[in-house]
Symmetry: C2
Subunit: 439 residues, 2 copies
Amino acid sequence: MPSAAKNAYDQLPYPTVIVVGGGFAGLEVVQGLAHTPYKVLLLDKQNHHCFQPLLYQVATASLGADSIAHPFRRTIGPMPNVAFRMAEVTSVDPARKVVCTNIGEFSYDILVLALGSTTNFFGNRSMEHQAMQLKSINQALDIRSDFLQEFEAAIALNDENDVRRCLNFVIVGAGPTGVELAGALAEIRRNVLRQEYREMDSDLMRIMLIDSNDRVLQNFSERSSANALKYLLELGVDVKLGARVMDGDANGIKLNDGSVVATNTVIWAAGVKGVSVQGLESDRHERANRYLVDRQNALKSHPDVFVIGDCALMEGDGAWERGHPQVATVAIQQGRHLVANLKRRAKGEAVLPFSYHHKGSMAVIGRRRAVVDLGTRSFGGTFAWLLWMFVHVIQLVSFRNRIMVLVNWAWKYLSWKNTIRLIIRPYVRKTSLAPAEVA
Amino acid sequence: MPSAAKNAYDQLPYPTVIVVGGGFAGLEVVQGLAHTPYKVLLLDKQNHHCFQPLLYQVATASLGADSIAHPFRRTIGPMPNVAFRMAEVTSVDPARKVVCTNIGEFSYDILVLALGSTTNFFGNRSMEHQAMQLKSINQALDIRSDFLQEFEAAIALNDENDVRRCLNFVIVGAGPTGVELAGALAEIRRNVLRQEYREMDSDLMRIMLIDSNDRVLQNFSERSSANALKYLLELGVDVKLGARVMDGDANGIKLNDGSVVATNTVIWAAGVKGVSVQGLESDRHERANRYLVDRQNALKSHPDVFVIGDCALMEGDGAWERGHPQVATVAIQQGRHLVANLKRRAKGEAVLPFSYHHKGSMAVIGRRRAVVDLGTRSFGGTFAWLLWMFVHVIQLVSFRNRIMVLVNWAWKYLSWKNTIRLIIRPYVRKTSLAPAEVA
């Protein structure tokens, strides 16, 4: 007994565009194609969009998950030509023009893959087993519950080495995620641990930021890297450059200089790789596991399959010869460009090649400590921090989320405390991993 | 290397009060004993206080978990004579005056047990295995993720019976929790399902509220019961009175009239029983598993062990001969009274007997639909709804949480939508339970 509404969507006489993945790239396409002569189906394994740039604030108890996530159905609710299914895509069959998922097959006329990226462990299998990641809401809540449980475990221990192991937080990768996490944890030591764990020596907490490069934020200007390093050191972060994690087990991790760091918590933020699906192997490039696309974001072998965002590798766009950076602005611009091209196509006009317009980079290390690269200018400090907040708030998907984030930030600014310190996830004792499993 | 602060707390020359459980009763004691000549240690298996009366709003996607939870350390931060340990109490040894936990033993001079209550399945083992509960944040998030996943599963199905099973929500117990849950789900059908699941027939969703009594809210006035029933029927809730769930398995549940209801989701809100610890068996009463206490809330056999709140059974308090209701107001009043008595004791004054002052009862069914019993007066409608909101907001533990709840409620009032519809918990397919396990 299908309802009238069901028929209304099904009977739209338009070509079907299936968008796989509702991250920045995919959501841009879905929103852009609302009220156009296309029938759009969004597929995602989550039921909500996640604003990834603020995930680290969920992980460090500054924001609730609901402040940075937004249900897809809330976004597409008013769009008569858009539908959503929560589904895990298992493969694509471009010959039959079909997407296969855990809830069945869906036929497309045009396929848009916006699969995003996942953590890249670069073959370090012990880290793949042992380290935490920060690519989803669930992982952010895991990190939050975990570091809070380490605090609670530490305060109940007497042996100083045991306490140190609980309070030793190792972050691998000094890109924006790693730097922001390290700064936030350092502020928690300063503003939360000293005051609310008084019976414990907060100086025993150590935040170690490890990177194999010779500077933090290596994709930023040298000036911003220097500023960020200065801020990290001011906050007491132990920055180890030119260092690599070679191995890890229940006792801690081993670095390339042979030193061993006793820790229960390693967070891996050292890189990402594209997510892929079965069925399009010939188009995949080994460089970061991304799909090779032309300047229209189309696969060379299948012009009706478009790949956008982190999982796309486009060559030939001027300075970005080796592919665009895997960041939100590229994803949004490619999504927007694809929408424009699809609209042109519907009108029988010629499509245009994509060019990335690099607006800049920014990262926040702590209260009034941020770095911004804008064109050829680089600056840090309070103004950079305010700009960072402004840019992130306006990019949030819903007005409600903007309010929630602003209220939470105002509260944190006034109280100096990360308030959302709720342990609501089962404890993942990574060190219970037997060494045999690691190898 | 204990820090100076650690010594400062440890060396307080006061008798030690251990408070087990940071619910309404326990937190009242902890806050009341701040800055008094007692050394207070709060033990709880969670790291946060949870405002249980609004749990159903977390479960039905109106509020985030962080709006109704507050970290204990945030509350006790400014109290020099109070400490907290996250610990699971396994037993009490009143002869040695020791509390045994998963992180070691703690000695007390005075013990306050505020253990709260847990779901009472009244021996229905199939329900104990199959039904969801609503007594903690985790359970609320489970219910939220679960009903949203049923929606997503339903929209992907074609067979009408399969769809009905996904969309059939059975709530057992028409006390405040059951009534509030049923009303909230009915509003979701009306305001969310119809608009954001357009390709599905929202009339296939059914909310069934089952109670063995002959009226809903049986502890309320007859007028409020009648009003609540009217509101539930207006919202399209299927209220089944005088009915009992006899059994349940993968196919659904069986009622005492022999009828079978096909459903994936049963939420059990039919009653609570006291939580108990090992070591005090002789003081436990079989009536709802509560500890028998005198009018000072002390165990008769151990005058230095006080039991307050849901897990205490006090006889002889006027109209409450069979024990006080297991609600927040009793817990708060008993906590406050115990603090006053402990302060009197510290000054060498005589202690006073507890008397419960019943302020009233209230429950909300939906937008502008609530019922209030206040003294001998009973009323419903918009004013009752506003009063309900006011009373709940001012009772929240922190100012931040009050703001968060108000912002969320204002948002919901204006948008008519439950926005926090995030599936962030692993899917618990209750029906995957093999019948053998149920029996």
